[in-house]
């Protein structure tokens, strides 16, 4: 068996080198009848000349009889990750790196109903196996430490004090069952403070079979991706089972909303130098419009750009392992023109030929650099994306460093359908939540003055796990049904605990990031629909002046010295009355000298007079 595989491997290399035909590689690696690897890029213009790009990569391992999908044959599934999952007994893994702000009002629901979106910073949740909770926690710790190394992220800071155990908010993507006696625990940690950057993108690309050399992943340039208005990277590993057995499935997703105008402007000049006078777009209908007066027009809706303008490079042909039919699809209405431009070098004479297609879905050719051109005279006409069923906004209330409050506002913009959802929040232990201050105020969007006080009708269920100092965060899951055209504000108060001086981070005056809340809408059949996240919050704790301990030591030292001196005096000195003391004092040699001098002076004074 081993020899056979070795021979296959060498033959694939030979094929690759000599013939350059990778079609055969996929045939060799593929399990019969099953897809092993697909990649797909979707481009969707959003309002205001923004562009949503969605990269999706799916890779699978070879099916095996093991219910955890463990197999010796990883095929295109990355071995580095597979082994970590096996070591830490993780059945399902979800890792999110996100940055920016999703404008739900303008952009609608996040891509894939928010399935692959994450909260700001890094978020990780996984179903981890263990005989009991402590065994599962040990595996979880192993998982976060190794992932931390693999993805160059501070995942190792997810400890007991930040790990939560969601009950209602998360559902597994694949198979997680306790049939063969193994027990799975769902654990979640979030690091809202973690900056997401190129050092996280590089390991992400390394997991791909074509590594960013070919296929759509060749577009992934950190400088461009991280210049986006909103972007998120997601890695989801789950187990998929069918009659052939179980196999691991990994979905890697990158979503980015790119401000096209800014992206193109940065290409022209990296700094925002003032527009040339002759290029100013002024409203010439204004009476004062002149050489010196310019009322700026709205951003032009006449757009025309190439994919390479935005990503700085072309697609370097297809990834030979990608088995799907169409690699790229563009979601635009009819008013947009799409052109697929592939430049192929003829093998014979090295001449280049350009091929242009007007389709909305394309298949990439191997080794053929490809570009895409989009243009429209009215970029405000875009294909509609579904509206987000609930809008959620969260902020701190109150002032002062002792107490605080949180207000989360949920709005159901729909006129006719109520929405049912679970809202998940987790707070660090130093935010001492008072659940008795929880209040829900709802207001109809139609008659703005009417405040409905039907808390019971909206609030369905509360699951609350209180915090334990330094050991466990508090965790709150609230199930609500929001009537149509209603806005509800949920408020509660908390106290800010004092930390030990060594518990403050080096930049204590920055404050502490509070992880985003997660809202999951649920349909009638109890299935999760949309996942929506709030932004993170910045909690200011009372911060000591860190030079204070030094002052305290000095002051305490002085007080101690004074006390000691007094007590020492009392213990060692004899107590005498004043006359005796003066008598004794006059016996001292120095006082005798003084007395002598005094008497001499007095004598002289008396003689003089």
């Amino acid at each position: 068996m081993f020899a056979y595989r070795l021979r296959l491997a060498t033959s694939t290399i030979v094929l690759l080198l000599v013939l350059g035909l990778s079609q055969s590689i996929t045939q060799v690696l593929a399990a019969p009848g099953l897809t092993n690897y697909t990649e797909h890029l979707t481009l969707q213009p959003l309002p205001r000349n923004s562009l949503l790009t969605t990269f999706t990569f799916e890779s699978y391992s070879i099916p095996s009889t093991d219910p955890h999908g463990t197999s010796l044959e990883y095929a295109v599934f990355p071995r580095s990750l597979g082994q970590i999952l096996e070591q830490s007994k993780t059945q399902e893994l979800h890792l999110r790196f996100s940055q920016g702000w999703w404008d739900a009002e303008n952009w609608g629901s996040p891509p894939e109903q928010g399935k692959y979106s994450g909260g700001l910073g890094v978020e990780l949740w996984a179903w981890v196996e263990g005989e009991d909770l402590s065994a599962a926690k040990a595996n979880w710790r192993k998982l976060v430490y190794t992932l931390s190394g693999l993805f160059c992220a501070s995942l190792n800071f997810i400890d007991d004090a930040t790990t939560t155990f969601p009950v209602k908010s998360f559902q597994p993507f694949g198979v997680v069952n306790d049939q063969d006696g193994s027990k799975f625990y769902l654990m979640r940690g979030a690091l809202p403070r973690e900056p997401v950057c190129t050092e996280n993108l590089t390991p992400f690309i390394k997991l791909l079979p074509c590594k960013g050399k070919a296929g759509i992943s060749s577009l992934l340039d950190g400088h461009k991706i991280f210049d986006a208005q909103w972007q998120g990277m997601a890695i989801d590993v789950s187990v998929e089972c069918n009659e052939d057995g179980c196999r691991k499935k990994m979905t890697q997703t990158i979503n980015a909303v790119i401000d096209v105008a800014r992206s193109i402007q940065r290409k022209v000049s990296p700094v925002p130098v003032p527009t040339d006078f002759d290029k100013l777009r002024c409203d010439t209908t204004k009476s004062y419009n002149s050489q010196y007066h310019c009322f700026p027009l709205k951003e032009s809706t006449d757009v025309d750009w190439l994919l390479s303008d935005i990503f700085g490079r072309q697609i370097q042909g297809s990834c030979p392992l990608a088995e799907n039919e169409h690699h790229i699809s563009i979601q635009t209405p009819e008013t947009w023109n799409t052109a697929y431009i592939s430049t192929s070098k003829s093998a014979d004479d090295g001449s280049e030929s350009t091929f242009i297609s007007q389709e909305k879905s394309f298949k990439l050719e191997q080794d053929v650099p490809t570009n895409i051109r989009l243009n429209s005279h009215d970029s405000s006409k875009i294909s509609s994306s579904p509206n987000q069923p609930v809008l959620v906004e969260r902020s701190f209330t109150g002032h002062g460093l002792e107490r605080g409050g949180i207000r989360s506002t949920f709005t159901n913009p729909s006129r006719d359908t109520p929405v049912r959802f679970v809202y998940f929040e987790s707070f660090p232990w130093f935010m001492r939540l008072y659940l008795h201050t929880l209040q829900l105020q709802s207001q109809s969007l139609l008659e703005s003055d009417e405040i409905l006080s039907e808390q019971e009708n909206i609030l369905k269920d509360i699951y609350y796990l209180p915090a334990v100092d330094r050991k466990q965060p508090s965790q709150l899951e609230i199930e609500m049904i929001l009537p149509p055209a209603t806005s509800a504000s949920l408020t509660y108060d908390f106290d800010k605990a004092h930390l030990f001086i060594e518990e403050y981070p080096p930049d204590a005056n920055y404050g502490f990031d509070i992880a985003p809340g997660i809202l999951t809408t649920i349909n009638e059949s109890d299935e999760p629909q949309y996942t929506i996240r709030t932004t993170s919050l910045l909690l200011q704790l009372p911060t000591p002046d860190f030079s204070m301990p030094y002052n305290v030591i000095i002051l305490t030292g002085t007080v101690m010295a004074l006390t000691f001196g007094n007590i020492f005096n009392l213990l060692t000195k004899r107590i005498v009355n004043e006359e005796e003391a003066e008598e004794i004092a006059s016996q001292r040699p120095i006082n005798q000298y003084i007395a002598k001098i005094k008497s001499l002076l007095e004598k002289r004074g008396s003689t003089n007079s």
């Binding site: 700001l120 003032p274 700026p296 109150g398 005056n509 920055y510 910045l538 003391a581």
Partner: protein
């Protein structure tokens, strides 16, 4: 310890204690005068310090600014539009701003504000603010900076330049991807209640928020000219709060870097190189802090209370050669600096007085002035307490305590009622209060007591108890609001000299010059407001801006003064002068 014992023995032998006690009244006066002299010493060369940037991350004036050239055309364009709105209704104004901010691509919202009058609904103030949020592409979305311009500035001028600049800067900032903090652009209907209501609503009920606000800059450009020659910086906050000195330093450095002269406290032609100018700046600073929030202010004071550091930049002069985009570049560079901050402003000083834009005295240096003044009342209290001859519980504690409690309750009720009644009757109410208190209280006491007189000890204890509490209060207040504490202490020095049974003319003089009503007249002269408007401003400042001043006048000053009225007017035989001699 030997030396202390020695000294103590000598002091005891030479009878220092009684001498000291006899001279306590004069020591008290000396302490009060020393407090004043202390402040006069501070502006002498060598007593103050030069400002410096404490937070290295700020990097003031290090970023190259690009708000120039064709951006000027756009500023002019917006300015033309804004100037057309000078006579427009508030709705039209808000609508125009909403439209422009929407076109720029900001998340724009409208905030309807109201400051309610507790008793009379029809007197409530209301208006409309517009704000737009620029969500930073790279930031954590937990922090924000605020750039704001009120439609009407503190001098009731139309702030067309400021509003146009805010919109033009919003458009310009939107082109950058460097922001790590969200930027909120606010156009408020005025620089006082509307801005305060917005900030207050931001922390309670606004639908769209953008994280905790780290810094705020108010732009004030009322002149119609495109040119300016200097920048005035306002920085006083409410209730004695100040922005971090680093923010002011950054603004000063940036303005100078852009070629604009900076001045503070209206010292427009000062070079700050001579003692007189520095003293003037110091005392103007104290007065500015005292009256912050009373009447329309520059705007930046409204941010006090939420750990938001804020300043107002005001364009002055029309001579040039610097133009409105230079003023905009100051804001641009200032925002680049705040954007650089990794932590909240915390490095530099929070309590200081500026003697010039680049010279300051910190709290450790100036606080003794207020402390000396506050403690002069304590010395009088000790003196009076020693002078009492009858020292039982009833005389020393019980009766004075009851009187003090009644007086405090009466004055606070007076203050509370003044907040509830309608605006037009506040002034008559306060004036009639003055008449009733100054004439009614002495006659009431005479009527109530009849032939029974208070013992001298009771009155001395009453005065003493009041002075102890007053001194404690002033000491505490001086650490929070130095100016209020110092000025209050200063005008009430005569109250320390009130004695039971002192000659009528003397007591009338002392009580008149230190009465809250005379204080209000002085304050109205400082604010250049007629007294009835000043009282209304004080009442509304308490209501809408949470400024303590009215509360302190009616809740602290008035009862202390009333106690002194009681002490001076209560029928009692004058303390025999020989008691003092006997003590010595």
């Amino acid at each position: 310890m030997g030396i202390f014992e020695n000294l103590q023995r000598r002091a005891a032998k030479s009878g220092l204690a009684p001498k000291l006690i006899a001279s306590l009244r004069y020591l008290s006066l000396i302490a009060a005068l020393a407090g004043i002299v202390w402040l006069l010493v501070l502006p002498i060369d060598g007593q103050y310090r030069k400002t410096y940037i404490s937070e290295n991350a700020l990097l003031p004036a290090q970023a190259r600014t690009y708000f120039r050239e064709s951006e000027w055309n756009i500023v002019r364009g917006y300015r033309e539009e804004v100037n057309m709105l000078e006579t427009a209704s508030p709705e039209q104004r808000s609508q125009a701003i909403v439209e422009w901010m929407d076109d720029i691509g900001l998340k724009t919202s409208v905030h309807h504000w109201e400051v309610a009058h507790p008793g009379h609904k029809n007197e409530s103030l209301s208006g409309t603010n517009v704000y737009g949020i620029l969500h930073s592409p790279r930031g954590g979305h937990a922090e924000a900076m605020v750039l704001t311009a009120p439609w009407i500035n503190k001098d009731y001028q139309f702030n067309g330049g400021g509003v146009a600049l805010v919109v033009a800067l919003a458009r310009y900032f939107h082109k950058w991807s460097i922001w790590s903090k969200n930027i909120i652009f606010v156009v408020s209907s005025d620089s006082q209640f509307s801005l305060r209501s917005w900030i207050s609503a931001y922390h309670t009920s606004l639908p769209n928020t953008a994280g905790s606000i780290e810094g705020a800059v108010v732009l004030d450009y009322p002149d119609k000219s495109d040119y300016l020659d200097s920048v005035e910086i306002f920085y006083e906050g409410l209730n004695g709060q100040l922005p971090n000195l680093d923010l002011i330093n950054t603004a000063v450095i940036i303005s100078n870097h852009e070629g604009l002269k900076v001045f503070i406290q209206g010292m427009i032609s000062a070079g700050f190189n001579i003692y007189k100018e520095r003293v003037q700046t110091l005392f103007r600073g104290i007065l500015a802090q005292l009256v912050a929030g009373i009447g329309p202010g520059p705007g930046s004071e409204n941010f006090s209370g939420w750990r938001i550091d804020s300043i107002t930049l005001r364009a002055r002069g029309t001579a040039g050669p610097m133009d409105i985009t230079t003023f905009g570049r100051i804001a641009e560079s200032l925002f680049r600096s705040i954007n650089n901050l990794l932590e909240h402003f915390h490095q530099s000083f929070f309590f200081y007085f500026l003697l010039s834009p680049r010279k300051f005295v910190s709290i450790g240096t100036y606080l003794p002035a207020a402390m000396l003044l506050a403690n002069s009342f304590l010395l009088i209290a000790v003196y009076n307490l020693v002078m009492t001859t009858k020292r039982d519980f009833q005389t020393i504690i019980f009766v004075p305590g009851i009187i003090l409690a009644v007086v405090v309750a009466t004055s606070q009720l007076f203050g509370y009622v003044s907040l509830l009644i309608e605006s037009k009757s506040v002034f008559p109410f306060v004036i009639s209060g003055g008449v009733v208190f100054s004439l009614g209280v002495p006659s009431a006491i005479k009527l109530l007591t009849g032939k029974n007189t208070f013992s001298v000890s009771t009155l001395l204890s009453l005065h003493s108890l009041t002075m102890i509490l007053y001194s404690l209060f002033l000491t505490t207040l001086s650490t929070l609001n130095f100016s209020l504490s110092f000025c209050l202490g200063l005008v009430t020095i005569p109250l320390a000299w009130i004695r039971p049974g002192m000659p009528l003319y003397k007591s009338i003089i002392l009580l008149t010059i230190s009465s809250p009503w005379v204080g209000l007249v002085i304050l109205s002269a400082i604010k250049e407001l007629p007294p009835h408007e000043l009282i209304l401003s004080l009442v509304w400042a308490w209501r809408g801006l949470q400024v303590w001043t009215w509360g302190i006048i009616t809740g602290i000053w008035l009862p202390v003064w009333l106690v002194c009225v009681v002490v001076a007017s209560a029928p009692t035989p004058a303390p025999a002068p020989q008691t003092e001699k006997k003590a010595s």
